[in-house]
């Protein structure tokens, strides 16, 4: 179980663990704008809750999600959903992980290959598939940014009024995302594997989670793109779980779900 019980003491924890049903954990999906947070949230819901349900729409325009959206009652059951993973994820996997032509090839770099590196493969050591269940609420948060300029939105064809309104809502969204940090049990930090991971927002989120004792799983998203270099993220944050994924195509999602179960349970 995650560290929400840090204020309740060991006795309360034991009582709850022995006699009460495990409650669900609240997992926030954080990251910079356009990292793929909504796409990942939708994929988790499609895989474990409802194939038809979307919490939001993904867009190439930054700050598409400007209000945090919570979806509760998701049960990740790795054993039960294994076949579904294979159907929904691997069928849509256009490129094998071992493709040597891809930039940031995972197979040649053991530090980033989740199947060979125990630090990034949560099942590599234990193989504890029997207890592979996690009940969670997932919170899709607005992208975190330190600057929002309405002029940036004009480049996407928005009218000036629309751009200003979007910028205003985006600033409110950033504040809301920060406020949500007080109310979550774990963080999935989504980074765009095609971008430099060493941004201050990434560093600040990780620093805050470490200070609060909240577990973090880093997902290096967009590995379906040829310019993706997930090993850079692993190198930048060696003390954390880093799972290369493609939320869009479903590549490597079983590894990611296994990491979630292990880290947030």
């Amino acid at each position: 179980m995650v560290r929400r019980r840090r204020t309740s003491g060991i006795l309360a924890w034991l009582l709850e663990a022995l006699f009460f049903k495990k409650r669900s954990v609240k997992i926030g999906i954080y990251g910079p704008p356009n990292a793929g947070k909504t796409t990942l949230t939708n994929r988790i819901i499609h895989t474990f809750a409802d194939e038809e349900e979307d919490v939001g729409t993904a867009s190439e325009i930054p700050h598409e999600t400007r209000r945090a959206v919570r979806r509760g009652g998701i049960l990740i059951d790795l054993k039960q959903n294994l076949k579904q993973f294979q159907r929904t994820n691997f069928n849509s996997n256009p490129q094998p992980l071992s493709d040597p032509t891809r930039n940031g090839d995972l197979s040649t770099n053991p530090s980033t290959n989740p199947s060979t590196n125990p630090s990034t493969n949560p099942n590599a050591k234990s193989g504890r598939k029997g207890r592979a269940k996690l009940k969670l609420d997932v919170v899709d948060t607005p992208g975190l940014a330190t600057k929002i300029d309405f002029h940036d939105f004009l480049a996407y064809g928005l009218r000036e009024e629309e751009a200003k309104q979007r910028a205003k809502e985006a600033t409110e969204g950033v504040i809301e995302a920060i406020k949500w940090l007080d109310d979550i049990d774990g963080v999935i930090l989504l980074m765009d594997a095609t971008q430099d991971p060493y941004t201050q927002t990434n560093v600040v989120i990780i620093g805050n989670m470490e200070a609060r004792g909240i577990p973090v799983v880093i997902a290096a998203n967009k590995i379906d793109l040829s310019s993706a270099a997930p090993q850079k993220i692993k190198k930048a944050f060696p003390q954390h779980f880093v799972i290369p994924i493609s939320a869009l195509t479903g590549e490597n999602m079983p590894e990611f779900y296994a990491a979630m179960v292990r880290r947030f349970r």
Partner: protein
């Protein structure tokens, strides 16, 4: 008629004054002020005081360099407050810092250096664990 022509001249003269004033302002704007704050000064301030100090400096167009730096919690609070003050003129902040180091017996993290500037002026090009490369351009 005559009065209006004079008035016109007055307005033109006033316009010239404004133009001169504008040039002066442009010259001033090309100078970018940097506030380099010592660790002692940083440590003498409380968290909120530090954040307000940085934000006021940045909103005035200055680059603020804090020896010793801000903690990640302070940086998060700074982002939050900066977002509250974003408008058409102030688009936010650009912030860079070295990651904190483990301190005494790994019990306390030691922050190092934080650089904060207006987003319109400062752009971080690249950064690593121990170095920051930034471009500071005129407004």
């Amino acid at each position: 008629m005559k009065r209006s022509e004079e008035g016109g001249e007055e307005r033109e003269e006033g316009g010239e004054e404004r133009e001169e004033g504008g040039e002066e302002r442009e010259k001033r704007n090309m100078n970018i002020k940097m506030d380099l704050i010592s660790e002692d000064k940083v440590n003498s301030m409380g968290s909120m005081e530090k954040i307000r100090f940085v934000l006021d400096g940045v909103k005035s167009g200055n680059i603020v360099v804090l020896e010793g730096g801000l903690t990640s919690e302070e940086q998060m609070k700074l982002i939050e407050l900066a977002m509250l003050e974003v408008d058409e003129d102030f688009t936010g902040i650009e912030m860079s810092g070295y990651p904190s180091k483990k301190g005494f017996f790994n019990l306390r993290k030691k922050t190092r250096l934080t650089v904060v500037g207006p987003a319109k002026t400062m752009h971080t090009i690249k950064k690593g664990k121990d170095w920051i490369s930034a471009v500071i351009s005129e407004i």
